[in-house]
Symmetry: C2
Subunit: 333 residues, 2 copies
DNA sequence: CCTTTAATCGTGAACGTTCACGGAGCGCGA
DNA sequence: TCGCGCTCCGTGAACGTTCACGATTAAAGG
């Protein structure tokens, strides 16, 4: 009816208005416990009239579960993580959970403080895209059994779950695609060599090349940084050689960017002088001239599966495991 | 020392271990209130040894402020919002606030439930990128003075703040740029006509054209959807005409995408047959062939300023206002 | 020596909810 | 009539913290 009170409406306010105890109101709101159907409806009606909104803080404090989970992402401005975040948010809200977002900018120290903050907010679990570096602090900062699921990179502990892509397979498919298009001299530019994604994608590249009996030239592969600039410099090294490869595989969207910058810088054209296939789909792939093929990761599902696994760990119906989602080669039409 | 307890360490645990009252521990932790320096250090040492982490839920419940703010974004997978979110997250964490993220996928109903959820989580304030539609529910669902700051689009109520870009100026600068490059026949493709951004950017386009004495053809401007597909169809309408414009201005990155798709579909080349200048910067602008000019919005600062204003409203040191950040024309080098 | 004041610390209550009970009222069979 | 069980609802406590005091001690002032 009216909500002239400055103070938010509480269970007790509703109880007083309905002439019942606040416990009864609680039962009506939650639809839980033994309560008469009529009473319940009457209470709910009054609650709606008063504009009652449950206080999740109090609920969480008492019930010792916040119905919130933390999402720690290494670079929210990277489209890959933005899409994963969308998947996480969607799955979480569908299941009645909130998402606390933290961005680390690939800084392991910021990641640590972010995780600490999230823990202090008493999130029920954590989804982390680990930055490069040592993650031992997880074991000391967090309770032994705190539910954590890693995405994109894994966390080298069976206690923590992980949702990853089939990096080796994906890279292999890219090699096969390029070979089918007549390439034999294929190089690769990946991110920091310490990163799991770089390693696995490079491994996939190498084993596919071997399987197909193609030569792997050490100076055709380079590991730079995860940012376009570093990748550009690494690519220039490769492309300046007289015996440069005719095709290059990259391990992420930002590296694809860098390689394209390198090509432009050297006056070469992609798809003509050097063909490109890179990890991660992006909306502009089809709009480049010529369009480039990409190895798309199942970004939304990475987010959704991570949430599903995490909630399983939280309520004990599931456990930490490592799952890998297939990639998909997207060739320009 | 040891944290063998399954139960998290509380203030009382630390108090017992230190032989003081829990209030004293509280004072030491918060560095607030009158406490002896020695005592404080001793307590802090013990707290650290026990691995004490404050429970923000309890803190928030008692102090009636959660030190958290809600970020409701209409499309987190849009790079513009991802960058704004990065700004929000950075400014918020620097100021000791957490960020609760919600994604609405441009659905006003999802936006409403998201805002309700956020309010139940007792966020201290809300940053909202409003979806298209009627926002009257804000007045009924939220307390009268609840702090809300809109981004990208405003909320037609002086109660709520807004952080926007100088849309008219930006569009005007784009027109001037095109005119300087010799264009006189300029069209525009914008998003949904009900959107503030579409309107303002179109207005800026029109007034600049008039100011420069150039003809505005009704059939050179089109309003589609905010997604590439709709923009593509709208652009095809324009570009199929025999008297098509030689240049087009777009009102967002996704629309730029759509126009590029239309050009490709019609066998036309951007920068050759039709020049393009669009709102929102994106990493691939410089890698297209030829590169395209863009009107960059100050995305990070939009996020940061929104947080700054919101925190001002929350602690009473500032008030709701509408501020506009300058855009920047980025021409390919 | 008594009183005042400042510094330091402790105590009870409260925030809004859920948990674990306990108790009233009713119907039903022996 | 008594007792039993079921349904429904209420009461007190608790979650971990802060708030508003009050209590204690020691130094300072007359």
């Amino acid at each position: 009816m009216q909500k002239s009170l400055r103070r938010p409406v509480t269970l007790k306010d509703v109880a007083a208005a309905a002439g019942v105890s606040y416990q009864t109101v609680s039962r009506a709101i939650n639809g839980f416990g033994e309560i008469n159907a009529e009473t319940s409806q009457r209470v709910l009606k009054i609650a709606a009239e008063l504009g009652y909104r449950p206080n999740r803080l109090a609920n969480s404090l008492r019930s010792a579960q916040s119905k919130a989970l933390g999402l720690v992402v290494s670079d929210i401005e990277n489209l890959f993580f933005a899409e994963v975040a969308a998947g996480v948010e969607a799955e979480a809200t569908e299941r009645g959970y909130s998402v606390l977002l933290a961005n680390t900018s690939e800084d392991i120290h910021r990641e640590r403080t972010a995780i600490l903050n999230l823990f202090e907010s008493r999130v029920d679990g954590l989804i982390v895209a680990p930055a490069e570096g040592d993650h031992d602090f997880l074991k000391t900062d967090l309770p032994e059994t705190f539910p954590v699921v890693a995405i994109n990179r894994s966390l080298s502990s069976p206690l923590y779950g992980a949702v990853l892509s089939e990096n080796r397979k994906g890279a292999g498919a890219a090699v096969e695609y390029l070979v089918a298009r007549g390439h034999t001299k294929i190089g690769a530019v990946v991110g920091s060599p310490n990163l799991m994604t770089s390693q696995e994608r490079l491994e996939g590249f190498r084993s596919a090349m071997e399987r197909l009996g193609l030569p792997i030239q050490r100076h055709w592969t380079a590991a730079g940084t995860i940012y376009p600039k570093g990748a550009c410099e690494a690519a220039i090294e490769i492309l300046q050689r007289s015996d440069r490869p005719t095709a290059i595989i990259t391990s992420s969207q930002r590296i694809t960017q860098g390689v394209l910058m390198a090509l432009r810088h050297l006056g070469l054209r992609h798809g003509v002088d050097v063909e490109l296939v890179g990890f991660d789909d992006f909306p502009w792939a089809a709009l480049l001239d010529p369009p480039v093929a990409v190895i798309a990761q199942d970004t939304h599902n990475i987010g959704r599966k991570a949430v599903a696994m995490l909630l399983g760990m939280i309520n004990g119906t599931g456990e930490a495991e490592m799952i890998r989602l297939p990639t998909r080669l997207v060739v320009p039409s």
